[in-house]
């Protein structure tokens, strides 16, 4: 493909653009440090450092660290972050200088209600596109189902993102599949970020500091998923005082306690959440002792500053869904653990080293009389990674690093506890090593033109013991090869260029272009609409090739009305290779020969996203509209012609508004609309052995009814008491009670036998909820 070779060529040439003279100039010194919240000591991600003398500047990285290299002299610095009072400081630069800054949150909430964490100007100026930083504070005002604030529901209101189904935590980004989104919690992958079959996310918003979604322009530091990256950072905890925050809601309650280990040097945060639907159910039914159902989350984070150059962090998450009824039980959940060490070698070179553990598993057991059966399945990751940031001068910021992850896949094996009768053939566990190295440079080439260019090389190896099988068209095993323990029996290498350029037309208008390629080596094999805890991740194998996505995007960014309105339009074109689907009639459950049931194809998605964002004033919010298409092509489906992907939602519109009426009173609302999913509906029927069978035509040739819904919320802040304050939040989900179809089934009528009817399942009508939040 010519287009690709041009991209590669341009890409390689870029590395020869002079990185700016690294030596031979006047003596230069660095000023570096961390930017924090003065009240809690929480580090601020993406805070701005402006050098007022020459109009340059930088932002803090994910650990709140910044560094700027300047010639010797006197400088006026301004530290700023939206929602905080800016802080000015004068520095006399005669040698390398360490300068930490603590910003104070703005006193009045009325003057400025947060809607985006970024100030409006940076959307025009920065080198990011296709990415959105979501402020957790903003989620407070978005009305949600059951009053449970949820970051995964929040991002679904953004352009280019839509929920996989009603109420789901799973989402589609720019026409990609739901398993193409990388969800990271403090760098640990979360393999199933949802509770209760997707209706709640595993992220307790009280414990979350920062959420950033990359739909395109994905930095080289990230890899492993084809569509998007969602980078979620947990709060570090208050390093000044002990505080407790929490809430009592309709279905769940939560409590967070945080405080200093040693004042200003280290802090700890512990946060928990548990549902009590089971308790309520016991109160209203006499089925009391037989049914138990609940989920819980537990977050822990601790950090300690060893000195001005070193800081260590430990963070962990544990959450489970538990469902039991006498002799049957199901439970599933994630556990993650991240240990990090931040080290600044000097004022120019910053290093983070992380050890990451992630475990997702599920199991169920049920019994009938003497016979009892159980099943356990899951995936475990062990990772080690290093990320370096080098600030050689004010014009360049170079990032490089590596990661290596050992994945262990434990497939579902069904076992009978009571007797030895063979029930299902065992499925072999698998393991694989996924690694990556990356290098990128963020360079200001001229006053108007800047680029971020880099690449990632990913490696994937399947490791024995494992039996690799080949299959014929009849799904029978042709031959099989047994590989020994520790044997690397299959490998893939992916070269992933990432490049973004920003051209500033003037101070409030810019044009950006981006190209990136992503490799994905892990896949969820699933052919149903709903997300199930049993959806299992499987590795690429000699047969299942890695998914490859190429995305090209172009965007225009501007601000008007004195920087209070932020407008952007982004267009993208994406191709996807090696998509996986099941054959018709595939045996998808507990099948050791699951690979024989697969077909492979490709996809393409394109669209244009418009977004208007108002961040200042008493009325804030955004309007976003996406016009998009997503198609797939499989040799075995629809005679090999392109057909719409399920997530092909032509129109996707959302409006989110929050109005601070009074100091204490906030009214918010959102309305969303999207085109119904592309689905396959019957066009006829026939009878086989007395059973009615539906007759289908083209794959995904029909549409679900269009989806729309209005939610409203009111929150009232009670007068602050001496040592505590609280607020109450009342929300209505689906205000006009629209029966949005979760599914439509076509079946024989129960009232008039022999005739057929379409039956709609609507999950949620109007749902009111109340939450009381407190802070000590």
């Amino acid at each position: 493909m010519k287009f690709k070779s041009v991209i590669y060529y341009v890409f390689f040439c870029l590395w020869f653009i002079p990185v700016g003279s690294l030596a031979g100039e006047e003596e230069r010194f660095s000023v570096s440090g961390h930017i924090k919240d003065s009240k809690t000591g929480e580090i601020l991600i993406g805070a701005t450092v402006s050098i007022l003398n020459n109009g340059t500047g930088t932002t803090t990285n994910q650990y709140g660290f910044y560094s700027v290299k300047l010639e010797a002299g006197s400088y006026n610095l301004r530290f700023s972050y939206l929602g905080y009072e800016p802080l000015d400081a004068t520095v006399e630069l005669k040698n390398n200088l360490h300068k930490d800054a603590e910003l104070t949150p703005r006193a009045t909430t009325l003057a400025e209600v947060l809607i985006t964490g970024k100030s409006t100007r940076t959307a025009v100026n920065n080198l990011e596109m296709g990415s959105i930083q979501l402020d957790i504070k903003q989620l407070k005002s978005v009305p949600v189902l059951f009053g449970e604030r949820d970051v995964l529901k929040g991002i679904q209101l953004l352009p280019g993102v839509s929920p996989s189904s009603e109420g789901s935590s799973n989402y589609f980004v720019r026409g990609g599949e739901a398993d193409q989104n990388h969800v990271l919690l403090d760098e640990a992958p979360v393999y199933n970020p949802s509770h209760l079959l997707g209706f709640f996310s595993v992220f307790n918003s009280d414990a979350i500091k920062d959420v950033k979604l990359y739909k395109g322009g994905i930095p080289a530091a990230y890899g492993g998923r084809a569509s998007s990256v969602l980078d979620i950072r947990m709060r570090d905890g208050n390093s000044k005082d002990w505080t407790a925050t929490g809430g009592i809601g309709l279905i769940a309650s939560r409590l967070t306690v945080e405080g200093p280990i040693v004042k200003d040097r280290g802090s700890i945060l512990v946060s928990g959440r548990r549902t009590y639907a089971d308790v309520a159910l016991k109160a209203v039914t006499d089925d009391a002792d037989s049914l138990t159902f609940y989920f819980y989350d537990f977050n822990l984070k601790a950090n300690y500053e060893l000195g001005s150059r070193d800081r260590i962090y430990i963070s962990g998450y544990l959450g489970r869904d538990i469902f039991t009824r006498k002799e049957a039980g199901f439970d599933s959940g994630n556990a993650t653990m991240t240990a990090r060490w931040n080290h600044s070698f000097n004022t120019e070179l910053f290093l983070n080293t992380s050890l990451v553990y992630s475990d997702y598993n599920y199991g169920f057991r049920f019994a009938f009389g003497k016979a009892a059966f159980r099943l356990n399945s899951g995936i475990i990751d062990y990772s080690i990674k290093q990320d370096y940031t080098w600030y050689p001068n004010t014009k360049n910021m170079i990032r490089f690093g590596w990661i290596s992850t050992l994945h262990k896949f434990k497939p579902g094996n069904f076992a009978s506890e009571s007797d030895t009768a063979a029930f299902f053939a065992p499925i072999e566990p698998q393991q694989a090593l996924e690694s990556g190295i990356y290098l990128s440079n963020e360079q200001k080439i001229s006053r108007r033109f800047s680029m971020n260019y880099g690449f990632r090389v990913s490696l994937f190896n399947n490791i024995g013991p494992y039996t690799v099988k080949r299959y014929d068209d009849n799904k029978d095993v042709l031959d099989s090869i047994l590989y020994g323990a520790g044997e690397f029996y299959n490998g893939y290498v992916g070269f992933e260029p990432r490049i973004t350029a920003n051209y500033l037309i003037d101070s409030s208008n810019s044009i950006k272009v981006n190209y990136n390629r992503m490799y994905q080596y892990l896949h969820i094999l699933s052919n149903s609409v709903s997300s199930f805890p049993t959806d299992l991740w499987t590795p690429s194998t000699p047969l299942i090739l890695p998914k490859i996505a190429d995305q090209f995007s172009i965007g225009y960014f501007t601000t008007f009305l004195k920087n209070t309105l932020d407008f952007s339009v982004e267009a993208y074109y994406k191709t996807m290779h090696n998509l996986v689907d099941y054959k018709n009639g595939a045996v998808t459950v507990l099948n050791p020969d699951i690979e024989a049931e697969l077909v492979f194809g490709k996809g393409r998605a394109y669209g244009i996203e418009f977004s208007v964002n108002k961040t200042l004033g008493t009325l804030t919010g955004w309007v976003s509209y996406t016009l998009a298409k997503s198609e797939k092509q499989f040799e075995a489906i629809n005679f090999g012609s392109w057909f719409p992907a399920r997530q092909d939602r032509t129109h996707n519109f959302s409006i989110v508004a929050s109005w601070q009426v009074l100091e204490q009173l906030n009214i918010s609302g959102n309305w969303i609309y999207y085109t119904g999913d592309a689905v396959t509906f019957p066009g006829g029927k026939y009878e086989i052995d007395g059973t009615l069978v539906n007759l289908y035509t083209d794959r995904n040739g029909s549409r679900m009814p269009n989806y729309h819904r209005l939610d409203l919320g009111v929150s009232w802040q009670f007068k602050p008491r001496k040592s505590w304050n609280s607020d109450i939040n009342v929300s209505l989900y689906n205000v006009y009670n629209r029966k949005n179809a979760y599914s439509i089934d076509f079946r024989e009528s129960e009232t008039v036998p022999g005739t057929t009817e379409a039956v709609r399942l609507a999950l949620f009508g109007i749902v009111p909820s109340v939450t009381w939040n407190f802070k000590f």
Partner: protein, 271 residues
């Protein structure tokens, strides 16, 4: 293989928890598919009776359940070349009795419409397998004191080793044929003793059970499996498709051969 519907049950249960969920019948405009021929043909090798039902597909909202095709010529063709014609007993329904077959032999079914379109299917006669016993397993049921106990059927049989075997259970409970296709393949459990309960059907004390145990051919198994795939609630089902049988020339349906055996019992605590 036993279908695991457990997850679907949980989802429905949880939807029920939300209380606000609702199911209603809606009128949807559906694009009418082109009419196709359907041949529903099976030969019971145990009693030598062959039934063939020839129909055309109907529109989804049609009030009838089938559109019979009368006047077709239907013939069984043995691998030796000998042909046995079927007789039309009612519109679209064809039958012949007294057929004797040998496992492993090939058998074809040919259908010629009055309009001269021809459809042909072929299958291999499966081997007969018989039940050793039919037992009951007591399940959870209503756990409250005095609650009704629930029972599952637990048929026991020895799967022959070294050959592919497929089974179907047709169950009549208190005189009512239970819908759906309960089928099992020995693909992963070849040659073992089968004694797992049938999770799909629940019985209470006093129920009369009529069980037909069929040893079916691979064509029938694959065809019924595809129908089952489509019969699940759409949020757990695979992307819809038309099950593919063994007829050529674009006809829907299948032609299968099976051996069958019938057992009857009344559910009681003694069993």
């Amino acid at each position: 293989m036993f279908k695991i519907k457990y997850i679907g049950v949980i989802l429905i249960f949880i939807a029920g928890l939300f209380l606000s969920s609702c199911e209603d019948v809606i009128q949807l405009d559906l694009t009418e598919a082109a009419t196709r021929i359907v041949v529903d043909a099976s030969l019971n090798a145990a009693d030598g009776e062959c039934h063939v039902h020839v129909t055309r597909t109907l529109g989804f909202y049609a009030s009838d359940s089938s559109d019979q095709v009368a006047g077709a010529t239907v013939e069984l063709i043995h691998e030796s070349g000998s042909k046995i014609p079927l007789v039309e007993e009612g519109p679209g329904r064809y039958r012949v009795t007294g057929i004797q077959v040998v496992p492993g032999e090939r058998m074809k079914l040919a259908v010629t419409l009055p309009t001269d379109e021809k459809y042909l299917a072929e299958t291999v006669i499966p081997g007969p397998v018989f039940l050793d016993s039919l037992n009951l397993s007591r399940g959870i049921g209503d756990p409250r004191p005095g609650g009704t106990p629930v029972f599952l059927l637990r048929p026991e049989w020895q799967d022959p080793a070294g050959v592919d075997n497929y089974y179907r259970f047709k169950i009549v409970k208190n005189g009512e044929l239970q819908s759906g296709f309960t089928i099992i393949s020995d693909r992963q459990v070849d040659g073992t003793l089968q004694e797992q309960p049938l999770f799909r059907y629940f019985f209470e004390l006093g129920d009369t059970v009529h069980l037909e145990f069929q040893s079916i051919d691979s064509v029938s198994y694959s065809y019924f499996n595809q129908i089952n795939d489509m019969a699940r609630p759409s949020f757990v089902a695979a992307t819809p498709y038309n099950p593919i049988g063994n007829f050529d020339n674009g006809a829907l349906g299948y032609f299968g051969v099976y051996f069958s055996e019938v057992r009857e019992l009344i559910v009681s605590l003694g069993r």
